[in-house]
């Protein structure tokens, strides 16, 4: 029964994706305009209210990695002159573009008609689009998003970003599509986003139960896929999250854990919080290291890279541009270090975690800078020990299974030993 229910949300998602990539492939013929943009702070509702189709290069990169294609793409990019130290997402994307631009589902990706950068917290994003501009010779729109250096989005920040959306992004989309800005349509879309966000938060928070019916890191990667990308604000998106929520609630009612590479993980020995993006080249192996040990992830920061909904943010149809501005500045990597420490400590406590794991990836400074400080601080605040793992996003050369296994086992045994000591 549950197996079928589980498959449903997965199936829906797979169809949605296949559909989207098919439409993208047809775009040159159908004439639908194509906008390349990045996950953090994306303006999907706005883009789609103009009937433009979004492409997310990071998602292509990580999907390529999950399908074993990234090593070749990275090699191609390195041959074209990109150093080993460049973010591997970029190299994977550049390599893919130079290998015929065939996307992860095997369909060809269209050229961009517009490059829309709506989050500037990572300089790599800017350089990445600079490279794509070179490649495709198309216009770029840039939204400068201030960092939450003081731990919040100030009214000034908000107004500054909203003005850029009004004065730069909207005119550019109007020029691109030949359609006028339709605020009514945007509002409807934002209302659908908010509903999906509500459902997603309920899914995340189900992990407070024992056993947790979800894995909030490895499993959540699938849960956040649609909302962080082309489907936020769409009918299918809203529908997907309704189904997902029902499915998870049903699993919780039955007292079941999530499906994992080691089977349905109902006997959960360790509840962990994870910080940092996953490794995509060995995604299932990495997950299996955890699930084999009976470790379930109950909260993660990576599942918030496209928005920290569980801290209250919802898209607000009453204030379309203001809410989009908040979204641009509210993604996880735009939060300052104390904010990240607070968030992790909060997760450890609210989700009654036994430990927290930092997965530090070589590629991404937006995530990695300061992670050791975060580790120490969260340990100090919660009294719960942390672990530190290192690998990479989509460059398979940095994933060393034996080392990671050794470290995870040691870490979990340490938790176990301390538990035993506390019980005595």
């Amino acid at each position: 029964m549950t197996e079928i229910a589980k498959d449903r949300s997965m199936e829906i998602q797979k169809e949605m994706l296949a559909d989207h990539y098919r439409r993208l492939e047809d775009a040159p013929k159908s004439g639908e305009p194509v906008v390349y943009t990045f996950v953090p702070g994306n303006l999907n509702e706005l883009v789609r209210s103009f009937d433009a189709l979004p492409v997310f290069p990071e998602i292509n990169a990580l999907q390529s990695a999950m399908r074993g294609k990234s090593a070749g793409y990275i090699a191609t990019a390195e041959k074209a002159g990109h150093s080993e130290d460049v973010c591997s997402y970029v190299k994977c994307d550049v390599g893919m573009a130079r290998s015929g631009n065939v996307g992860p589902t095997g369909t060809r990706l269209p050229r961009p008609d517009l490059l829309l950068l709506s989050y500037t917290g990572c300089y790599t994003f800017m350089k990445w689009f600079e490279l794509l501009r070179e490649e495709y010779d198309c216009p770029v729109v840039f939204v400068q998003v201030p960092y939450q250096g003081d731990g919040s989005i100030t009214p000034g920040h908000r107004a500054y970003v909203a003005r850029q959306i009004r004065e730069t992004v909207i005119p550019a989309l109007e020029r691109l599509t030949g359609k006028p800005y339709d605020e009514g349509r945007l509002r409807e879309s934002l209302a659908r986003s908010a509903r999906a966000e509500e459902d997603l938060v309920a899914v995340f928070e189900s992990a407070m139960r024992r056993p947790s019916p979800i894995d909030a890191y490895f499993g959540a990667v699938y849960y956040v896929g649609p909302i962080f990308s082309a489907f936020r604000g769409t009918e299918e998106g809203a529908e997907y999250y309704r189904t997902l929520r029902e499915e998870v609630e049903e699993r919780a009612r039955q007292g079941l854990g999530p499906s994992t590479p080691s089977g349905v993980l109902t006997r959960q020995k360790y509840r962990l919080v994870v910080e940092g993006p996953p490794n995509w080249t060995h995604f299932r192996d990495f997950w299996k290291l955890f699930s084999d040990e009976g470790a379930v992830v109950v909260a993660s920061t990576y599942s918030k890279v496209g928005g920290t909904y569980d801290f209250g943010f919802r898209h607000d149809m009453e204030d379309p541009l203001g809410t989009l501005a908040d979204y641009c500045g509210g993604c996880y990597t735009n939060i300052d270090l104390p904010g990240r420490v607070r968030m992790l400590a909060d997760y450890v406590e609210r989700y009654s975690a036994d430990g927290f794991v930092i997965h530090s990836v070589k590629s991404c400074n937006s995530f990695s800078a300061g992670q050791l400080t975060i580790l120490r601080e969260v340990e100090k605040r919660t009294g719960v020990p942390g672990a530190f793992f290192e690998s990479d996003l989509v460059d398979p050369r940095y994933f060393s299974p034996a080392n990671l296994k050794n470290r995870l086992e040691s870490y979990l045994q340490m938790i176990e030993a301390r538990r035993g000591a506390a019980a005595r």
């Binding site: 070589k362 050791l372 120490r376 340990e379 020990p385 942390g386 530190f388 793992f389 290192e390 940095y398 060393s400 080392n403 050794n406 470290r407 086992e409 040691s410 870490y411 045994q413 340490m414 030993a417 301390r418 000591a421």
Partner: protein, 423 residues
Amino acid sequence: MKTFVGIDLGSTTTKAVVLDEEGAVLGRGITNSRSNYDLAAEVARTEAFVSARFSLLRAGVERAAGPAALDRLLRAFRLEQRLVQWARLRQWIEASAPRAAPASLQSALAATLEELFARLVAEEEERFRGDEAADRSDFFRDAAGSAYARVAQEIADPRGVTCDLLIGLYDHSIIAVENEPLDLGFPNHIRAALARCEGAPGVAEAAQAAASADLEIAASVGTGYGRARLPFPKEQIRSEILCHGLGAHAMFPATRTVLDIGGQDTKAIQVDGDGLVTSFQMNDRCAAGCGRYLGYIADEMNMGLHELGPLALESRAPVRINSTCTVFAGAELRERLSLGERREDILAGLHRAVILRAMSLVARSGGIADEFTFTGGVAKNPAAVLALRNLVAENYGERRINISADSIYTGALGAALFARRAA
């Protein structure tokens, strides 16, 4: 008597520790790791039980005949073990001889082997009679290899049974000897060993008592690099991190920070007052801070690993080495040598480079608290220890630094303690 066994299957050596019921160390054994992990564990365990039985008979023999008698008995025992190994090696070599040489050479080869082994065995006996230091720390493979090569060189005939032929036979056969179970245990050889010693009254009795003592293994725990391959159920496997923490705590109860630099990895561990690990860091992406780095340097310089440290200590003006990459360090080494820098100064710099890497792991794990224990193969290297002392003082001030002569057994000791707790 109930005993508890810990086995640490490392990348270069396998160690075993046997504890008595009270948790005191009864015996230790070590062997080189080999492709057959079960066997490596078995050999180390057998050695540990030999050493355990010797500790049982120690008091009796010393009382009856004094410490020299004990030493002699031990050397006689080692000699017996060696003879078994030589005999087995000879069997393997003779068995593969027909395939290794043309028929025309067979009788010459047989005669040469006869002489070769007669001399090798005579040397062993001679060493025993000559009261030479008994327990050479080398494993059979290493000690036998150099003795064999030396004698082979002396008696080889460039136009007949060549040295290459003899060495080839050895290389082929030593692997076979290492990968089969040989009976080297106490009960089988103690009688022959006793026969070699002029028996003072009481010695044989003590040995007899030790031989018949019932040492039952109540529980075992395995750890180390190859632990997953040990024939133990999962509950009996502990990570090296936990075992090192607990082992170091048992040796030095006030220890709060442990640094272990082994062949393939470096670990920085923080422990609490009970020896439980509270935090740790290991090297991940790179092996530069490990013992292997020094192994590589030794190869580059054509020196033995254990010669590096003493030479580096002679340095007056250590060179700063910038590269922490093992392979680049080799290049830097050659470059410096060609510039005419002194070997000892370069070596001192290389030792510092390894320790610097390790220090950054220690810092990551939470720094150095008092007391600080240094373990692993690299803790035997005096230049590494000196570099460590200096860097600890520079970065953390006054700290007590513990280094045990038995530090190589730290992980196995921790594993044995876990076995005792579980039982």
